[in-house]
């Protein structure tokens, strides 16, 4: 509930805006589909899935986005490039907004950069992610592609404190030749989205929240996180019922927004049902809190639709 002294940059990916002062643009919510263990996926190597179920999930995210005024991104996770090709073809038919392409396999991510360029989707694609693990092969693939938006993962395996994350972005810390920001610029990334890389609670998850505020104050770039990972990696919570888990997920999302987050990688797309209301509520409360600091909510902000 504050205003940054430094002017904040706002980026536009596929028609949605990310960034700005708290309370200005609604938080962008990114729901993941075809993730590891997603029940609708029948063959993760080939990319076979239950099309009707996938269509329902994507349509529901779009409905909630429209209803609340909260922009949404479809986060596609793929195990292989063959699977990604199928997922992209399906997304083209069912989803009008921006997409995130993601895989645990660097070769698949590199292939994804080339594929979205070839298919003409590059301008609405966010590459997830550039990190200290980005190899020369992967970097070259990004450079040769038309992708210009990427998440920069500030995870620092040798120092997960806020200063350690900033070092990864600005100077590469000790484990990379250069920082992720200059690296991304070299690779043609103009829309840089910052993500601390949330670790489990007990290992420093809370630092991600303070990092969001510090990174925006210092870098003026859009910042967000997958704070849901802290919730899902909490062993104590696993024995609790679904309502308790949802409550914690919603609360964590709201905390990330309160800490000046611009986007949320909110996890399984099934969670849209309760994450969108929680995020919209947090956006409205923040917008009301900073109204007299000259932080004006955008025309399509949830504050104009839901209250």
């Amino acid at each position: 509930m504050f205003r940054f002294k430094r002017e904040q940059s706002v980026v536009n990916v596929g028609g949605i805006k990310l960034g700005g002062q708290p309370g200005e643009n609604a938080t962008v919510l990114c729901g993941t589909i075809f993730y590891q263990g997603h029940k609708i996926v029948q063959d993760e190597e080939q990319g076979a899935f239950d099309r009707a179920a996938a269509e329902r999930l994507i349509a529901r995210q779009a409905e909630l986005s429209e209803e609340t005024g909260t922009p949404a991104v479809l986060h596609l996770y793929a195990r292989t490039i063959e699977a990604l090709e199928r997922y992209l073809a399906f997304a083209d038919l069912t989803w009008a907004g921006p997409i995130i392409v993601d895989s645990a396999d660097a070769a698949v991510r590199a292939g994804a950069a080339a594929l979205v360029s070839e298919l003409g989707y590059a301008d609405k694609t966010i590459y997830n992610s550039i990190s200290v693990a980005t190899s020369r092969m992967e970097a070259q693939a990004i450079k040769e592609s038309e992708v210009d938006s990427a998440i920069l993962l500030a995870y620092n395996p040798t120092d997960c404190r806020v200063d350690g994350m900033l070092q990864v972005l600005e100077g590469g810390a000790a484990m990379a030749e250069k920082g992720l920001i200059p690296l991304a610029e070299d690779l043609g990334i103009t829309n840089k989205l910052i993500d601390p890389g949330v670790v489990p609670m007990g290992s420093g998850a809370g630092a991600s929240l303070r990092f969001s505020t510090v990174a925006k104050a210092k870098l003026a770039l859009p910042v967000g996180s997958g704070i849901h990972n802290a919730v899902s990696a909490w062993p104590w919570l696993r024995q609790k019922d679904k309502a308790t888990k949802k409550c914690c997920d919603g609360a964590a999302s709201a905390m990330q927004i309160l800490a000046a987050g611009d986007f949320l990688l909110y996890g399984p797309i099934e969670n849209a049902e309760f994450i969108f209301p929680a995020a919209a509520m947090a956006d409205i409360l923040v917008a009301e809190a900073v109204r007299d600091l000259d932080n004006e909510p955008a025309a399509n902000h949830p504050i104009h639709r839901l209250v």
Binding site: F4, P157, R238
Partner: protein, 205 residues
């Protein structure tokens, strides 16, 4: 309060395992710990068992919980490898090669294989105390139980005191207020480097 594994020596503290995680504690006097990598498997007869999906924090937790119990002499690696992260490959590399000056696990093919919270002597102890049994890919619970039984009878407890991994404490530093870069309104500012909130000093002309 400690547990005894012989009349002269303690093999593990009563509070073992010291680091929390997604694991099941079986018989702390057993010789085998089982890492099921990305698979959720029911394991019988081991000291401790559970998955490990990350090549950095997950690996650190395993080392901390293993070296603090001298009874454990074998780590059985089984289950499906976690793609991209490769914690199984990373554990094998850590055991074989250790870490370099930056904390990178030498020879690991995982995405970000770094050790942050373990001192070099904890890794040395890990290398000395346990032997890794590589059955990565094995998900047959009966076969895993059979292997646990075989290795449980193969060695004596490690002949030293349990090794307690103490998390590095950050150095306390003097915090100065600095200049506010975040405005909370009503003349209150915050400096995000020091995380201090303060009222702005107004100079009257």
């Amino acid at each position: 309060m400690t547990e005894e594994c012989s009349s002269q020596r303690k093999c593990f503290e009563e509070s073992w395992p010291p680091v929390r995680g997604e694991y099941v504690v079986g018989d702390p006097n057993a010789r085998v710990a089982v890492v099921t990598l990305a698979s959720q498997l029911h394991v019988r007869g081991s000291a401790i068992s559970g998955p490990c999906k990350t090549e950095n924090l997950g690996v650190e937790k395993i080392v901390a919980n293993v070296v603090s119990n001298c009874n454990i002499r074998f780590i059985l690696l089984c289950g499906a490898e976690s793609k991209g992260h490769l914690p199984g490959n990373t554990l094998l590399a850590l055991h074989r090669n250790g870490i370099d000056e930056q904390g990178r696990i030498v020879g690991s093919k995982g995405a970000i294989p770094f050790i942050q919270n373990l001192a070099p002597d904890a890794i040395l102890r890990f290398q000395e105390q346990v032997q890794l049994i590589d059955f990565i890919g094995l998900e047959d619970e009966a076969k895993i139980a059979e292997l646990v039984e075989i290795y449980n009878s193969r060695a004596e407890p490690y002949p030293r005191e349990p090794f307690q991994v103490v998390k590095k404490k950050s150095t306390a530093k003097v915090i100065s207020a600095g200049e506010g870069d975040l405005l909370l309104g009503s003349g209150v500012v915050m400096n995000t480097a020091t995380w201090l909130v303060q009222a702005e000093v107004v100079v009257e002309c």
